[in-house]
């Protein structure tokens, strides 16, 4: 009896990985999905914070893809290990702080380790030659195979016909003829294949699935590193970069200002970790202080916090500074006017 071959598929939640896994299921391979959570996945953070995000469907697309495919999905927390990928990318960054090629090598390498530990024969990705400018080019396909250690057990079913034969093909576990020759940025072949596989609905990520490809997010991350003179970060740091308006009036501290109720509620959980301002005399946002204010900075910070309160145009607003040590102090200040806030303070 022929041995049932098993493959682990990297499932991002997008269309390509869905199709690649389906192509292998169609060839009788036992497929299970794997999804890595780096802390920067757009999928994860956004549901719970902003009101506007609450209106979007609250579903994890990787789980949804696995359910469409009828396969198991293993979601792996790689937050700690990913730090080295982000801080020291051998192949550098893309347009923003996205280390896409190193990221792909890392994820395929982790999938290889998982496959070895769990008795799986090969690895599947939804990569397509020419699909992405940094990580999905012919030369980078070779780099990913080599540097991940996966070598010829890495199969890209959507463009396999444009690549050298892999071990599963030469061993006859899968048929090269039943794979594809997709190439370039066009999505039409994927959409046609989705129709052929009868997938009526699928995620259409616009702008990638990682915050690191986002210009605004990347600027905030670089600012954080510069201000601390260190590239180390914790999960809370990268979560807070997604939330609120960030204003740095001095190199040694910045304000994170809640933009609406959802963000204020989320930030409320950080009040024990950060000095923070609330508004006393009128409604206003929660303002967290990241860094250490000097005594002479407090009035400026209070005036800035007041600037975002309901009475921002009045002459006086009372705000309360809550320190991490439990002490509180009220200040009645004139909110800063727009013209008093240099553009360079906004991160």
């Amino acid at each position: 009896m022929t041995k049932q071959r098993k493959a682990v598929a990297l499932i991002s939640g997008g269309l390509d990985s869905l199709l690649a896994a389906k192509a292998m299921l169609e060839q009788g391979i036992h497929v299970e999905g794997i999804n890595f959570y780096t802390g920067f996945c757009v999928e994860g953070h956004t549901h719970a914070i902003r009101k506007k995000d609450k209106e979007k469907p609250k579903r994890n697309n990787a789980l949804w893809s696995a359910e469409q495919l009828g396969i198991k999905l293993h979601i792996i927390d790689v937050i700690e290990e990913y730090k080295d990928v982000l801080i020291n990318p051998k192949h550098g960054y893309g347009a923003n702080m996205n280390p896409c090629l190193d990221c792909k090598c890392f994820m395929v390498s982790k999938a290889r380790e998982w496959a070895e530990e769990n008795g799986f024969d090969f690895i599947i990705t939804g990569e397509v030659i020419g699909q992405r400018p940094m990580s999905q080019r012919r030369e980078t396909m070779n780099i990913v195979s080599r540097e991940s250690g996966a070598g010829d057990i890495l199969v890209r079913p959507l463009c396999a016909k444009n690549l050298p034969a892999t071990l599963p093909e030469t061993e006859g576990w899968i048929s090269r003829e039943k794979m594809y020759d997709f190439n370039g940025r066009s999505r039409k072949p994927q959409m046609a294949l989705a129709t052929e596989f009868d997938f009526k609905e699928y995620a259409q990520p616009a702008g990638g699935c990682c915050f690191l490809t986002d210009e605004s997010y990347s600027k905030k991350l670089v600012d954080l590193w510069d201000a601390r003179s260190s590239r180390e970060y914790e999960m809370d740091d990268i979560m807070l970069l997604k939330v609120g308006r960030h204003i740095r009036p001095k190199p040694h501290f910045k304000l994170i200002v809640g933009r609406e109720d959802g963000e204020n509620r989320f930030m409320d959980g950080y009040r024990k970790q950060f000095d923070n301002f609330t508004t006393v005399s009128c409604p206003g946002p929660l303002v967290l202080i990241d860094g250490e204010m000097q005594a002479e900075d407090v009035e400026l910070a209070a005036r800035l916090a007041a600037r975002f309160s309901k009475d921002k145009n009045s002459d006086s607003v009372t705000v309360c500074l809550h320190r991490r040590d439990g002490t509180e102090q009220e200040f009645t200040v004139t909110p800063l006017r727009n013209e008093e806030i240099p553009e360079a303070w906004s991160i």
Partner: protein, 78 residues
């Protein structure tokens, strides 16, 4: 059979799912696991994870007073 509790409050998805998955791996089939979450995304994600991985969803309860979601499942066979 035993009952277990997992505190996944203040974690944003997919971390509640990851913690649930990692906790369930250590339990025996038939054990029950009660997960308390604050991310509304968990309401769809944990049941989806149960369906995919062969666990039985027993209850999804909203604790309005605490603004929490309490999801109870029975661990299935691996």
């Amino acid at each position: 059979m035993s009952h277990h509790q997992l505190d996944a409050r203040r974690l944003l998805c997919p971390l509640p799912v990851i913690r649930t998955q990692n906790c369930a791996k250590k339990l025996n089939p038939g054990d029950t696991l009660e997960v308390t979450c604050t991310d509304p995304g968990a309401e769809s994600d944990i049941p989806a994870w149960c369906r995919i991985n062969g666990h039985k969803l027993l209850e999804v309860r909203h604790d309005e007073a605490q603004d929490e979601l309490v999801i109870t499942l029975e661990v299935g066979e691996e």
